[in-house]
Every structure is written in structure tokens, then in C-alpha cells.
Amino acid sequence: MKISEETLNNISALSKIKIDDDIKPKLIEDLEAIMAMVDEMNKIDTDKVEPMSHPIGDAQNLREDISDKNIDRDAFQKHAPKTDDGFYLTPKVIEQND
């Protein structure tokens, strides 16, 4: 499996991880080696096999849909990088038209 720089840039954008140009050649080499190992999967025919997504096949346990008061916003926001009046702060997303 060949991984081009364009593919790497695409998955870097999808993953929201900035990758510096100087590490790209080594990273591509590593990813190609991993995918070559992964491609070993193709040696076995699985056409008639159902996919298994989870070791527990049954429906998952869900609690009653009743609100509880376990979440303390202040406690959770105390360690957030930037908050204001109960809100998380990010750089401006919507540009303002003057």
C-alpha cells in the first residue's frame, strides 16, 4: 500500500493533527509498513462472514431516561483552558460584517 503525501495531508486534515513537513517522509514510511502488515488480512476469504463489532453481542445496558444531578458544570469547567460565565471559549468562528 502506497501512501502519497496528498493522502497524508488529507488524513492529517481529517484527524485535525498538524504535521510538519520535515517529519512527513519518515511518517509515510512507517504508515506504509503498518498498512503492509494490515494488508495481510486479504489472504483470507471473509465473503460469507458477518462482521463483529463488539464482544458483547446483546443490546447495551441503558439507564432510565431520567435526568440526574451528577454533573457539576463548575467542577468540570474549573480545569478547562478558557471559559467565561459557564461557556467554553474558542477563537472567533463567525466573522462579523461591519
Partner: protein, 480 residues
């Protein structure tokens, strides 16, 4: 006076109960030793000196005969388990400043049982690694040979038990992260059935594979510790709602008969003659203790490694998307826009191995590749589960080596694929969700090896019983 730190968990419980020593003495001995040894071993990320105060409270309860089952026992937690108002790093720069607002169920259960936390142990970043070299806090060293790795990802917890810095510790196992370090450090490690131990407050790597477990000095200690972290938890939607039996009672039972399956093709293909020889000798020991041995077929296990390296990275890429520099964790300086905030915070906060796995996972899940990789891997996962279910119609447990080699030298493995192959014998049990454990089975050039027992769903008691029978015949577990 006896060296308290070299006692087993059951010996410590007996000593505390019969007032041979106090929890304060035990805790103080451990803390002194941890402060001294951690400079070399680097197995603790944080050390909690307030443990002494808690030990005094435990002694008070013990004196009034109000102590719980594990009252006054000092232990260490892998730094993946959240503890309220304490730092939980998961071995990552991303969480270097993270103070958890809540506690994990594993921590709560053990605290309710009476244990004292000595500190949080070092680990591969986000549990991704087999050598503990990917930790942001530097590698842990193997107490048996300081030039070698302790294994990973729960390397700190394994090294702590091996160096007598606690009698048991917690760990997690997604692809072998309890069993491989247990083998490398000459101790006992168990990963129970998927869903047996709550994942609430255990920082996620690959949610359908992650499972909490125990490192201990022997199978009986491990059984009691495991019993105390197991059980249904409504806060984890994948928690199994089944009663937990007395695992200590099952582990020490004299009335269990076993047929242990030996997967012929896997054993024939062991490359290292000394590892193969050690495994064959271990099987003879099992036979001598009255256990029946049967050769079995276990087809398709050779596809476990490639399937795992699709499924685990795919789940990790989804799980780790929560680290965005907004709500908690590392945030880059002066982001110019939202995309820059995300991309730079993640680039700075994650180490190389974590980034690599997120990229692989994203690639396998991306449009056009999903069926070829992710669905294909899930089909192989089903085939592996089927292989095990067929085998368990004939045998009560399956034995194989824990690892293909002994501990290797620090920085000696540079190729990612070679590092991933460390988990070749441990990954199949995670894909199927089965309980599995490693016990010491001897040494090559003074470095320990492990034998692995895999059990059927919820049959932790059976593999613990086999491990205990093995340890009754051997003293490999006492050679640390």
C-alpha cells in the same frame, strides 16, 4: 523484623488483621522505598504522601474490627484511572494539567474495600505501546535489568509490583498491556472477560477492547484483587450484569478438573527455541499437577494482529477526537482560528505513536476504505471468536506463551511493526473479549518468561485455578 514490602497481599491481610504490623508501618515502608527506587525505575508519575494519614484511619478501623476486606492495603493505580481532584495524565502531555472531576469505578470499588493509594503509575501514552517508551514522562525501567523495558503499556504498574513497591496494582489491557509487562517483570497479571470490570473513569483507547485488570505476586492475590474490582456498573453500558463469584475460592479450589488445550500450529511456529522449550517444560509441569493436556486447532489466529491494527486505531481515532483544546487538556498558544486551535493543540499534545495510530485509524475509516479495512477486520474478529468457541467445546482453557521473547533493551526496537508483533499471542483474547492471564514460567539468561492461560467467557476462576496449580508446583513467581 520481616520485610513488609516483600509480603504477598494475602500475607499482608493476615498480618494487619492479626496486628503483626500496622497499615501505617506498611504504608510508610512502601513510601520510603518508592521515593528511593523511583529515581531509577521511573514507574510512578505521581506519589501520594498523604497515604500515611489514610493508613492511620485504616488502623483505627482495623482496631475496632470494622475494617473491610482490603483495609489498609497500599496499592498503585495505572495513571489511566481517574481519581477525583487528582492529576490523571494517561502518560500524555495532552493531559499533563488534567485534574479529574470524578473518580473511576475501579478506584471507587478498591477504596470502598479499604485500599490506600500510594500513587499513579507510568504508562505508554494513552496505553499505546509495548515497552513504556512512548510515555511523555520518560520510559519505565525493568527492575530485573535496568537496561531493559518493563513491557507496556502498563509498564509502571508491573515494575511497581516486581520491585516490591506495592503488593498489587491496577492496569488495563487492550492488546496485551497487562500480560506482556507481567511476563517481562516476572509477575502475575490478569485481564478478565470484556465487561467484567467497569470502564467508567478509565481513559478510553479502543472501547471494544479495553479492559481493566490486576498485577500481583501470585494467582491467589490476583484473584482476590480482581474480585474486588469486578462487577456490574450501570455507568458503563458495556458492563456485564452477572454476579461475580468468589474468585479466591475458585482459584484455590482442589475440586476443579481441567483440560488445557495446546494450539499445535502456534506452538510449532514459535521462532525462539528457548521460548518454545520453556513452554513445553511448562506444559509438563501442568501435567504433573494432574491437568489433562490436549492438542487443538485454533485456526485464523495469524490474522489477529493485522485485524487489531485496524480496529484499535479506528476506535482510538474516534475516542481521541475529544482532545480538542477546548474543554480540557492541552491548548496551543494564540490560535488564529478554530481549525488552528484543534490542529496545533493536538499536534503539540500527542506524541508520535499516538498520532500514528490516529492517522491509521482515520485512514481505515475514511470514505472508500471503510469496507476494505474496517469491515474486513471485523469479519476476521468474528472468525477468531468462532475459533475460540469451537476450542472451548473440547477444553476448559488454552495455553500459549505470553510473548515470543524476553524483555528487550531500551530503544532497541525502532520499527513500528516489530513493536506491534510483541502482542502477537495476547491480541486474540482481546479481539474475542476472553479472560486471559500470564504467570511466570522460568527465565532465559536471568530474564523472566510468562505462560498465558486463556479462558472462556466469565471463567476467570478456571484460569486462576490453573495458574494457582502451576504456582503450587513452581517457584518462578517467587524469583523477583
Amino acid at each position: 523484623m520481616t520485610n513488609l514490602t516483600s509480603l504477598s497481599l494475602l500475607e499482608q491481610i493476615d498480618g494487619l488483621k492479626n496486628k503483626k504490623f500496622s497499615s501505617e508501618e506498611l504504608t510508610s515502608d512502601y513510601l520510603k522505598k518508592i521515593h528511593k527506587k523511583n529515581k531509577d525505575l521511573n514507574c510512578f508519575i505521581s506519589i501520594d504522601d498523604s497515604a500515611i494519614e489514610k493508613a492511620k484511619e485504616c488502623d483505627e478501623r482495623i482496631s475496632k474490627n470494622k475494617g473491610n476486606i482490603l483495609e489498609g492495603i497500599p496499592i498503585a493505580h495505572k495513571d489511566i484511572f481517574c481519581i477525583k481532584d487528582q492529576r490523571t495524565t494517561c502518560g500524555s502531555k495532552m493531559l499533563d494539567n488534567f485534574i479529574s472531576p470524578y473518580s473511576s469505578t475501579v478506584y471507587e470499588k478498591l477504596s470502598n474495600a479499604g485500599v490506600i493509594t500510594l500513587g499513579k503509575t507510568n504508562m505508554d501514552e494513552f496505553a499505546m505501546g509495548s515497552s513504556n517508551e512512548t510515555s511523555f514522562y520518560g520510559n519505565v525501567k525493568n527492575p530485573i535489568d535496568l537496561e531493559r523495558v518493563p513491557g507496556g503499556s502498563s509498564g509502571g504498574s508491573a515494575a511497581a509490583v516486581s520491585a516490591n513497591l506495592c503488593s498489587f496494582s491496577t492496569g488495563t489491557d487492550t492488546g496485551g498491556s497487562i500480560r506482556q509487562p507481567a511476563a517481562f517483570c516476572g509477575i502475575t497479571g490478569i485481564k478478565p472477560t470484556y465487561g467484567r470490570v467497569s470502564r467508567w473513569g478509565m481513559i478510553a483507547f479502543a472501547s471494544s477492547l479495553d479492559q481493566g485488570g490486576i498485577f500481583a505476586k501470585n494467582a491467589l492475590d490476583a484473584s482476590l484483587a480482581l474480585e474486588n474490582i469486578s462487577g456490574f456498573d450501570p455507568k458503563d453500558s458495556t458492563s456485564i450484569n452477572k454476579k461475580v463469584p468468589s474468585l479466591l475460592k475458585e482459584a484455590s479450589s482442589k475440586d476443579m478438573d481441567h483440560i488445557v488445550g495446546i494450539p499445535k500450529s502456534i506452538i510449532t511456529n514459535i521462532k525462539d527455541a528457548k521460548v518454545k522449550n520453556n513452554f513445553e517444560e511448562s506444559i509438563k509441569i501442568l501435567e504433573n499437577s494432574g491437568i489433562k493436556i490436549k492438542e487443538i486447532e485454533l485456526p485464523n489466529l495469524e490474522y489477529a494482529l493485522p485485524a487489531y491494527y485496524v480496529i484499535a486505531p479506528a476506535e482510538c481515532s474516534a475516542n481521541l477526537s475529544r482532545y480538542d483544546g477546548v474543554r480540557f487538556g492541552h491548548r496551543c498558544e494564540d490560535p488564529v482560528d478554530l481549525n488552528d486551535l484543534y490542529s496545533r493543540s493536538r499536534a503539540e499534545g500527542f506524541g508520535d505513536e499516538v498520532k500514528k495510530r490516529i492517522l491509521i485509524g482515520t485512514y481505515c475509516l475514511s470514505a472508500g476504505y471503510y469496507d476494505a479495512y474496517y469491515i474486513k477486520a471485523q469479519k476476521i474478529r468474528n472468525l477468531i471468536k468462532e475459533s475460540f468457541s469451537n476450542a472451548f467445546k473440547e477444553v476448559s482453557s488454552i495455553a500459549m506463551p505470553t510473548c515470543a521473547n524476553v524483555s528487550f533493551k531500551l530503544n532497541s526496537i525502532q520499527s513500528p511493526v516489530e513493536m506491534y508483533e510483541q502482542d502477537i499471542y495476547t491480541i486474540p483474547a482481546n479481539l474475542a473479549g476472553l479472560p486471559a492471564m500470564s504467570v511466570p514460567s522460568g527465565k532465559i539468561n536471568n530474564l523472566p518468561l510468562g505462560i498465558q492461560f486463556i479462558g472462556d467467557y466469565l471463567k476467570e476462576g478456571i484460569i486462576l485455578n490453573i495458574a494457582n496449580k502451576f504456582q503450587e508446583q513452581t517457584d518462578f513467581h517467587k524469583q523477583i
